[in-house]
Symmetry: C2
């Protein structure tokens, strides 16, 4: 497939800004008629998304895309959104964002808000247990695409990472370092697929390596530093103490390490720790934290691409793509016993 022509390509060709191209294509009164004519002719010559443009013009839609995430102020979601913006802005779309704070009711309100704002599509990383809200979106013929935290539904595309594999390679790495009593601190709610999958990957890695699974070694917390500290207090009040921790969150991993150090336990020698997400702070700490990279920028770009392909096709509802990205193990000081 040849690379799609973007407004940046047209802008470069004409030596004007991308914003000017976008405005010209959207018939903005700020732009002179001669510029509009030039841009439209060039766009046609360069074979710029005629399909999408035609659809947008016919439907009279907004060219705005709504994005819903649990929280905006993590590197992970920030980077996914940046990826979405990069890809969509180049095609003349604007992005508006809402956050749910992991609250199902708030998520339903966000969907209402975005539908009222006449968005052309909703991309979302969901915290909901049921699918009522999503069916409402689909009924309005608004494309819905999940990223990261998805629900399995007909006619809905999704872009995720293989969280099972993430849980598996994190746990396998700890086993390779000689750990035999590996605890798992899971975040949030097992109703959310990604956490259920990471947990399942952890269990499978134990099973494949003949290590016993113990309920005592699995804790469920929120995703804060303080919760990591509390979890370690609980785990190390057990008679049979763990020698490693796989945390489904980098923030919880950090809290766990702080508490282990306060207890005068050595990381990674006494207890090896690995987190999940590759938040930037994991790398600039004195004791850097091993983690699983989820390629959020790639995830965002891919989500946008899946949407653009759907829109370009004339059979919007029939296309359904499930893109699954591979996670990557990043070994740092907190788990590296040099084995």
């Amino acid at each position: 497939m040849s690379k799609k022509v973007t407004i940046y390509d047209i802008a470069k060709k004409l030596n004007v800004t991308a914003a000017t191209v976008s405005r010209a294509l959207n018939d903005n009164p700020k732009i002179s008629d001669s510029t509009k004519k030039l841009v439209l002719e060039t766009a046609e010559k360069m074979n710029y998304r005629q399909n999408r443009l035609a659809i947008a013009l016919k439907s009279g839609r907004s060219n705005n895309i709504g994005v819903i995430v649990p929280r905006i102020n993590t590197n992970f979601f920030g980077s996914v959104i940046r990826g979405i913006e990069e890809e969509l802005n180049a095609s003349g779309y604007q992005v508006i964002i809402c956050q749910t704070h992991n609250d199902e009711e708030k998520e339903a309100e966000n969907v209402e808000t975005l539908l009222n704002s006449q968005v052309d599509a909703i991309f979302m990383s969901t915290s909901s247990r049921n699918t009522i809200t999503f069916e409402k979106i689909l009924k309005k013929k608004i494309p819905l695409i999940f990223f990261d935290r998805k629900k399995t539904m007909d006619n809905v595309s999704s872009v995720t990472i293989d969280d099972f594999a993430g849980g598996y390679i994190a746990t396998k790495h700890l086993i390779d370092q000689g750990c035999k009593k590996i605890a798992h601190i899971s975040t949030g709610d097992l109703n959310i697929e990604i956490f259920r999958e990471r947990f399942a990957g952890y269990k499978q890695a134990l099973y494949d390596n003949d290590l016993p699974f113990s309920e005592d070694y699995v804790l469920f917390t929120k995703s804060n530093i303080e919760d990591g500290r509390e979890a370690v207090k609980k785990l190390f009040s057990l008679k049979n103490k763990p020698d490693a921790i796989f945390s489904a969150s980098d923030f919880v991993a950090l809290g766990a390490i702080q508490e282990l150090q306060a207890m005068k336990l050595k990381v990674p020698q006494d207890v090896a720790v690995i987190g999940f997400s590759n938040e930037p702070f994991t790398n600039f700490l004195e004791l850097s934290i091993s983690t699983i990279d989820q390629f959020p920028l790639e995830m965002g770009r891919m989500t946008a691409k899946v949407f653009l392909e759907q829109i370009d096709s004339s059979e919007v509802e029939k296309i359904q793509k499930k893109v699954v990205l591979e996670p990557k193990l990043i070994i740092r000081k907190s788990s590296n016993r040099g084995k």
Copy 2:
């Protein structure tokens, strides 16, 4: 002034969720007529914002508020937005967010996007040099409120911190620790008021304490860790090397410290460092970073309150509030020489 009644108060009184109250007040078909009646009667009895509701009903607006920030994935802007949401959600408003990546054209596009989405107001932390975009908002009679990064304009309220005082107390603290050759790494563009003010506070503190000001000691960078490293390389290639750094960004302060340590200089003994913003990582590093707290949650709440007061008043355009919060010095290891 007695505390305003919120939908949470009504919800508590009736033992229903706040979402139910919000939906009932907005005549949502999901809610039964009997519940609607009960909620409306209770709201009236409790004297719930009759004015605002009346205005909203009359104008047929969206109850959505648009928030524009340079970037979403910092603790500072994340917390401001959380404060805005807390205050506005309790009054039945929803928040949608756009980011500009410090790009003036992108900011203008975001404004278009939000205006097209029929928002009732725009709150923004601006990266623009001119006021054309803002005049467009005001012409549409949409309230505009600045927070943190403002432009001084008639008829526009703002909520900021005293950045001059922030720059002053950071520099004064370094002087109190015995530093005499204090460098300043400023972020972004002096066209942005906050950075100009921090810089002015730095100069004033030097002046008040009979320390000379040197152009060589002032550098302008982006707000990344890598830029902090580069800035230190430049500063320490000078013949007369500084003994302290006041950085207008925590991220730059972190990069600066990493580079100083790589150069085998001791922090704070050889070089004392202070940042700005109190990003959470500054506190959980082995060598914790001194900084200036800007009370972002408070700033967000205050911004929302200023808007709600405007809306409650019948003379929207005449009210103009300039709220200035006081910043707070937080002394940690990176600058504490025990003096």
